[in-house]
């Protein structure tokens, strides 16, 4: 059982949190190798990362990939997310947890930016 947990920052604007839940739903509809896809939030919104991981463990996850939905490798990506994941990993040594490369590190980000920029140019 391979599970994916998308981790976003969490916002006081509930609409921003809903965007993440919508994305998690969307990812379930595209071809993917995961038995389950959920989202969780570093701060402010629910579920927290530990709660999200524990829920997936309760569902029978054997391997959980945590995907940081962040554009840059700041403190949240480098320190805060790994700390919260480690906390749960210690409780559940039978479950393998890995943190995927954060979204902004994708080599295709430049291409996506250019597409958005061209949309703005209106040509």
């Amino acid at each position: 059982m391979n599970h994916l947990l998308i981790v976003a920052h969490g916002s006081r604007r509930e609409a921003s949190n809903e965007e993440i839940r919508f994305l998690a739903n969307h990812l379930r509809t595209i071809t993917n190798p995961f038995d389950n896809i959920d989202c969780a939030f570093l701060e402010i919104a629910e579920p927290s990362i530990p709660d999200g991981l524990r829920h997936q463990i309760a569902l029978g996850a054997k391997k959980i990939v945590v995907l940081p939905y962040f554009l840059s490798a700041g403190r949240h990506v480098a320190i805060d997310i790994p700390e919260q994941v480690d906390q749960v990993a210690k409780e559940a040594s039978h479950v393998e947890m890995t943190i995927a490369p954060y979204l902004g590190s994708s080599k295709k980000i430049g291409e996506l930016m250019m597409q958005q920029a061209i949309a703005g140019l209106g040509i």
Copy 2:
């Protein structure tokens, strides 16, 4: 003269700001319809959005596309960036300024996320 200004939040971690400058450099190297590509920051880092826009105007920009390098449509995207762009647009009515759809609104974000997640799965 069509110019592109990539706008990121700005970070206390200079490495994060350097990532944005690196991305702007990268975008110059791929096929694109812009005569000039620069970056600017909403807060903390330099140049500010008004300074970035004024620099492009001084270089002869006739149309400037501002691309919000943000994943969600929070206050920064909805209010702060438009306010700062409007401020300069009032000074330079001969220059057309448009704000492109923010990065996270790209329909391809889901695909990119899945690629990163699969990289994390290590298969």
